[in-house]
Amino acid sequence: MRNFNKRDEISRRRFISNSAKACLGVSLLPCLQNNSLIAAVSESGKQPKARNVIHLYMAGGMSHIDTFDPKPGTEAQGPVETIKTNADGILIGEYLPLMSKHMDKVAIIRSLNSSQGAHAQGAYFMKTGYIKRGTITHPGMGSWLNKLSGRTNSSIPGNIRINGGNNAPGGAGFFEEKFGPLTIGNPSEGLANSKRNKNIPVKQFETRLNLSEWIDTSFHKEYKYKEVRAYSDAYTEALTLMKSEDLNAFDITKEPKEIKAAYGPSKLGQGCLLARRLIEHDVRYVEVNYGGWDTHNDNFNRIEVQCEALDTALSTLLLDLERRGMLDETLVVVSTEFGRSPEISSDLGRNHHPKVFSCLLAGGGVQGGQVYGASDEIGNEVAENSVSVNDFNATIGYALGLPLEEIVYSPSGRPFTVGNKGKPVTAIF
């Protein structure tokens, strides 16, 4: 209680500063009062330019040692060779030959670390920036972006998830449902049920809509709640979408054959192609999921197959975005829930390893051809410039120009921020 009463006492420094102001009519230099200002002034020339995000999520835990953080000459490396890239001094795994020609566009963060070592919890943490709890569901980055910044193209959804389930983490969370992702199960099929059934003429369709609206009217008048409105919003959005001239953004069959082939036949490749089309039509956030990285056994054969899909899809995506002038304003993220252990098990596998792993950032103002942070000689622990999952999420928010300090309250009155108070890695911009 005594401490309690001291809460509003002013500090000695503040007292002297205030007395100086009062007696001498002067103020201390502003920079002495707030250290963060010095940093803000000296880091000039940073221009985060991202408007939209393509987030390639490698579900299962992508091995960092076999992909973007190789450890040649150590036992941890295993049989995978390393190759040089077009970025000076940056080596990557041999199963990423196409990416080796595009590393000048990519910043690798090799010092990521997570506190979550299980898949569901790890994915939740990576996609929301918050640790999974029983009492609340946190929104994913795409929902944050749409909530805080809004859509560019209002006729199609601003948040889309490809190859993922409706209940995967990183949805609308405690935000309104409209900020959450629209899920597309198969990129080749596009958006299911988005065209009017041919058996129903336009006139009849409109009659039915009017009828449903008429039935709802009195109910909506009586119960003016967000939850009730959400239902009619969903109808309105669906109808806007059906009429939208941007609906063809969902149809990758409109792409030339060469381009479809260049992205590769995998669900990741076709998902990336769909993502590029969606971003072209100014969808703010597209998440493409690709599983199969949980290589507890037969790691080295499986990694080769996994990497082939990633290599083809990511390199083509970066090139395609760049030549269309979109890479500047599109942040491409490659992330995963954790890395894989330096120890190789008797099944020739690698186990979960959240202590250190790698993620990629490209475009959106990120300076390519660089590595930020490092793991130790065998990729077991962070050696320098540790980047937490919160920092990583805050970096995405920073690239998008989102207000990282802005407190958003959940309906229950609890305060939350983008990236959960992580420090953005501004050095990569």
């Binding site: 209680m1 502003p30 940073k46 330019k49 560019t152 407190i407 309250y409 609890r414």
Partner: protein, 413 residues
């Protein structure tokens, strides 16, 4: 007069100890003169007890105390005063009759008084110092740590004097007695910014800057008075409607505390010097017509500041007047997206006004090679997107003088 209670109450506490000690001494050493030593002391004790009780009642009536606790303290206090008299009278009788029955009765009464003094004293202590005075619980310790990193909330440029001139006096007159330095009912105090915002025992956020409707403080101010959680409680003077309205407005404006300006104003000045094109909220508000037309206006997070304006999804018919309407703020626009627009010859001529443009999107427009000559004034431009236009390689010769232009896009299907 009531305030003398705080002084007088210590007399009976001291005296009862004296009485008990002397009584113990006498019981061991019979040679001591009981009447001389104890008689007058007991009567002094009786009088001081009554005086303490009387001033106590007066102090209690001034209000500001927890009702239940006050009631208990008051009744036990009065009981103590009565029993003290009973004790003295029993002692008086014993001195006359000198029988063991009376001695035992007197001693029982004395022991009872002694016990009661502890109870009354503890209740009184709780009343003035609060529940957790003796055994501070951990939650409060944690809360203390939290205050070491004050959070600054609210970024609007409204004058902070509102708090000092209007809000603070309201709090002071109506709330501070129970939620201030001397008492923190429900572990809530309104004079400390962090706690005032965080809220107390209820676990609800008391003040949500910018959102009065969901702030617990406002909810309680607006509750019907007989209700338990209504503030101020029903015994106290209610706030006027005007006062409540003012508090609501203040919270909606961001609930700015007076000391916030000291902490945040230097930051603003530094940023203003640093940013070439400082964007104010008024600038954004002036451009609200763009948002109404389905366009986007944002202040960039670039170090130089500046505006980003995206008109790609503004319907052509609404777009016609907009480019001209942008002219007053043209200097501050660094990022402009005019994709999908049909631009008239006059509109193309307006380009030279946007001198500070860094990024310009003109994809899917009707631009042709010769139009590029109108871009020569855009000396700072770095990015130019001419995808899906009739512009060809040959047109790029016009752009040669633009020294900062790094990327030009001419993609076509």
């Amino acid at each position: 007069m009531g305030r003398f209670h705080l002084l007088l109450l210590h007399l009976p506490i001291g005296l009862i100890f004296a009485n008990v000690i002397i009584e113990l001494l006498i019981s061991k050493n019979r040679t001591i003169n009981r009447e001389k030593l104890l008689g007058n002391l007991l009567w002094t004790w009786n009088i001081s007890t009554v005086l303490a009780a009387l001033t106590g009642v007066l102090l209690g009536n001034t209000g500001g105390y927890d009702d239940n606790l006050l009631e208990n303290h008051q009744y036990t206090g009065i009981a103590l005063a009565v029993i003290s008299w009973v004790t003295s009278i029993l002692h008086f009788v014993f001195m006359n009759k000198k029988t063991n029955v009376w001695l035992n009765a007197y001693r029982t009464a004395l022991a009872l008084s002694f016990l009661l003094t502890f109870i009354v004293g503890h209740l009184g202590g709780t009343l003035t110092h609060g529940e957790s005075f003796l055994f501070p619980d951990e939650e409060i310790e944690e809360a203390n740590q939290f205050t070491t990193s004050p959070t600054i909330i609210g970024k609007s440029n409204l004058p902070p004097s509102v708090y000092q001139s209007k809000i603070k006096p309201i709090f002071k007159a109506n709330c501070l007695k129970c939620h201030g330095p001397s008492k923190q009912k429900g572990d809530y105090r309104i004079d400390n910014k962090t706690i005032a915002i965080q809220g107390g025992d209820s676990g609800r956020v008391a003040i949500i800057p910018g959102n009065a409707a969901d702030s617990e403080l406002v909810k309680r101010l607006l509750k019907d008075r007989p209700e338990k959680k209504a503030m101020p409680p029903k015994e106290k003077k209610a706030l006027t409607k005007a006062q409540i309205d003012l508090i609501i407005k203040w919270i909606n404006d961001g609930a700015k505390w007076a000391d916030e300006t000291i902490a945040s104003s230097p930051k603003k000045t530094v940023v203003a010097v640093d940013k070439l094109y400082n964007i104010t909220k008024q600038d954004i508000d002036k451009l609200s017509f763009i948002r109404k037309a389905n366009g986007i206006v944002e202040a960039t997070k670039w170090d130089i500041g500046g505006l980003m304006i995206n008109l790609k999804y503004v319907p052509q018919n609404k777009f016609e007047p907009i480019l001209e309407q942008l002219l007053p703020l043209a200097d501050k626009i660094v990022w402009l997206d005019l994709s999908r627009k049909q631009l008239s010859a006059e509109q193309v001529k307006l380009f030279k006004n946007f001198k500070n443009l860094v990024r310009l999107h003109l994809s899917e427009t009707n631009l042709v090679n010769d139009d590029l000559s109108e871009l020569l004034e855009l000396k700072k431009i770095e990015y130019l997107n001419l995808n899906h236009t009739k512009v060809t390689k040959n047109g790029l010769i016009y752009l040669k003088p633009l020294k900062h232009l790094k990327k030009i896009y001419l993609w076509d299907k």
